[in-house]
């Protein structure tokens, strides 16, 4: 199954795949940021692979000079009972990523959460607001430079 996924991806997106990695039986494919939309559409619509369910979408802050963030897509194929992880690298200078809400409506809140926690903007998202933190909050809490104790005064207290 792994070879099949890679074969089919390689025929279409040979240039956009940056690396392929397998760890503990889990396949991770890193693709170029600009190609995430077409790659996801292909994986979702392909009749053999049919990764029709987006199970999770999240970000990771690696806190390094280049490609600081990663956005991770966890796809599941109901037809084949198979998982795949697609990752894109996002540099701090350009925090814009194409949204996949048109493919999977369920990506809506997951992208909002990633925006809330990491400040990654999803272009084409219908309603990109914070989901957990208040709208006037200025920081992104899951970034590594945000302190665990929070920043005093950053949260407005309710009026009496």
């Amino acid at each position: 199954m792994k070879e099949k996924i890679l074969d089919r991806l390689n025929t279409q997106f040979k240039d956009s795949i940056e690396s392929v990695n397998e760890y503990r039986g889990e396949l991770t494919i890193v693709v170029r940021k600009s190609e995430i939309g077409p790659v996801c559409r292909f994986l979702c619509d392909d009749t053999e692979l049919r990764f029709d369910s987006l199970r999770d979408l999240s970000g990771t802050d690696y806190y390094r000079p280049h490609d600081r963030f990663e956005v991770v897509y966890n796809l599941y194929s109901l037809k084949n009972s198979r998982r795949i992880r697609i990752k894109i690298r996002v540099d701090e200078s350009d925090l814009h990523v194409p949204s996949v809400t048109s493919l999977w409506p369920g990506a809506n809140w997951l992208e909002r959460e990633t925006y809330d926690m990491f400040g990654i903007h999803f272009d084409g998202h219908p309603d990109l607001r914070r989901i957990y933190m208040p709208e006037e909050f200025e920081y992104h809490p899951l970034r590594k430079d945000f302190p665990l104790m929070g920043i005093p005064g950053s949260l407005t207290l309710p009026r009496k």
């Binding site: 760890y23 503990r24 199970r55 690696y62 999977w104 409506p105 369920g106 957990y132 933190m133 006037e136």
Partner: protein, 438 residues
């Protein structure tokens, strides 16, 4: 209070409300004030002119039928729902941030607080992910014990759902019966794990304690009388015309939409998709156990009810088999560098004391890598995505909580329905806000 208020009314100046015009102005001002208050509070959600012909109703976060602190804004045209906007974050405690600042062992108690109706299942899901990351093999007895724990948690969670959801649509008896049965499960947890609620029973590489004979006997005793009690509660509902009328055809979502919105668990199985991680991606020892995956096609509140009730019966089957098949042996892996020793041994043995000190202070240091591991929780796919940099702390821990993803599908389920069906639909989604808000 009423006695106090009455005199103040009589002391009003006569003629204060004498003219219709003034009263009308007052009413307008009152309306504007309400609108202003709504707009002041709802900075995140704006509507054009809610008092024109459509009304905006704020439900929660302190509403008993929202099962926690879910806030829902519904826009009504008469009694029909035009749009619904869930608002989350009232129980956000930053558990993913907390996880990055403590060792893998220290985080186990925090998983209790995610889906607080099935803490044992969360413990199991978390340690399975860490063990996959670290490449730890767990003895067979611990695996069977974990199956028993996870299924008991599913029973407890579904019993709360059964009671509260039935109460939301007007059947109070089932609430009491459901909680009575759940109480027995919590008594079992008390003997099995030492606490009734926040269990923290699993350890990385095994369990905190073995299954005692007393706990085993209690579980058997419970399983002997539970199916009959469940059947009684079920009879109260499935033969109840009011209940059926309230549930049938309500909260429909199509099969394609259910997949697209990422629904999992009973919601997806009620939409006609036979997907259960216990069968499709067998973990622990589920491949050795015999059980059915109930699937219904109607995708309404009633179908979800049937799916969950059937699941409870399957859970009973699974626990029975697991109790039969559970082999003797240790419940902790023989890997002293990564598995915590028994506490009493750390007091008397030098080696154990050293290992305990190292594991507690520096963690288990799994290799560099990333894993995602999911189990079929009571609400759906409960997964943990862990990125390790080879340190004692996880670099990143993402919780894929089923309640969060399932709640997303609330607006399409509610749209076009009636206001009185909102509580039934929320009940059928069965969200736990501790998990949705993380």
């Amino acid at each position: 209070m009423k006695m106090d208020r009455a005199p103040t009314k009589t002391t009003m100046e006569p003629g204060e409300h004498g003219e219709h015009g003034e009263r009308g102005d007052r009413a307008d001002r009152g309306k504007l004030k309400i609108l202003q208050a709504l707009e002041d509070q709802d900075t995140s959600v704006t509507f054009d002119d809610p008092l024109e012909h459509e009304m905006v109703l704020n439900m929660g976060p302190q509403h008993p039928a929202t099962h926690g602190v879910l806030r829902l804004l519904v826009r009504l045209d008469g009694e029909t729902i035009v749009a619904a906007v869930p608002d989350l974050g009232y129980l956000h405690r930053g558990y993913e941030k907390i996880a990055e600042n403590m060792t893998y062992h220290e985080y186990i108690p925090h998983t209790d607080r995610l889906d607080y109706l099935s803490p044992l299942a969360n413990n199991v899901a978390y340690v399975l992910a860490v063990e996959k990351l670290a490449g730890l093999e767990v003895p067979l007895r611990a695996q069977y014990l974990r199956v028993i724990c996870a299924e008991l948690a599913r029973l407890a969670s579904h019993l709360v759902w059964l009671g509260t959801m039935a109460m939301d649509v007007g059947a109070v008896t089932v609430l009491l019966w459901g909680f009575r049965e759940r109480e027995k499960i919590q008594d079992i947890w008390d003997i099995l794990t030492g606490v009734r609620f926040t269990t923290t029973f699993t350890r990385i590489g095994g369990m905190a304690n073995d299954l005692s004979d007393e706990a085993s006997a209690m579980i058997r005793n419970f399983l002997d009388q539970f199916p009959e009690n469940l059947a009684q509660a079920e009879t109260l509902l499935v033969r109840n015309r009011i209940f059926i009328d309230r549930c049938e055809g309500v909260g429909y979502i199509s099969r394609e939409d259910a997949i697209g919105w990422g629904l999992t668990g009973p919601l997806l199985r009620a939409a006609g998709v036979a997907h259960d991680l216990r069968r499709d991606e067998p973990y622990l020892v589920y491949h050795d156990l015999e059980f059915d995956v109930p699937v219904y096609n109607d995708s309404d509140v009633l179908a979800r009810f049937y799916v969950r009730v059937q699941e409870m019966k399957e859970s009973v089957r699974i626990i029975r088999q697991a109790l039969e098949k559970i082999p003797p042996g240790p419940v902790n892996a023989a890997d002293p560098k990564r598995v915590l020793p028994r506490k009493e041994r750390t007091y008397g043995k030098m080696e154990e004391l050293i290992h305990d000190f190292m594991i507690v202070n520096f963690g288990i240091n799994p290799p560099i890598g990333e894993v995602y591991n999911a189990i079929e929780g009571s609400k759906g796919e409960l997964g943990f995505y862990i990125v390790s940099h080879g340190e004692g702390f996880p670099w990143r821990l993402k919780i894929r909580s089923p309640s969060f993803v399932n709640l997303q599908a609330l607006p399409p389920m509610l749209k076009g329905g009636m206001i009185s069906d909102v509580v039934a639909v929320i009940g059928s989604v069965d969200p736990v806000m501790g998990e949705a808000d993380k």
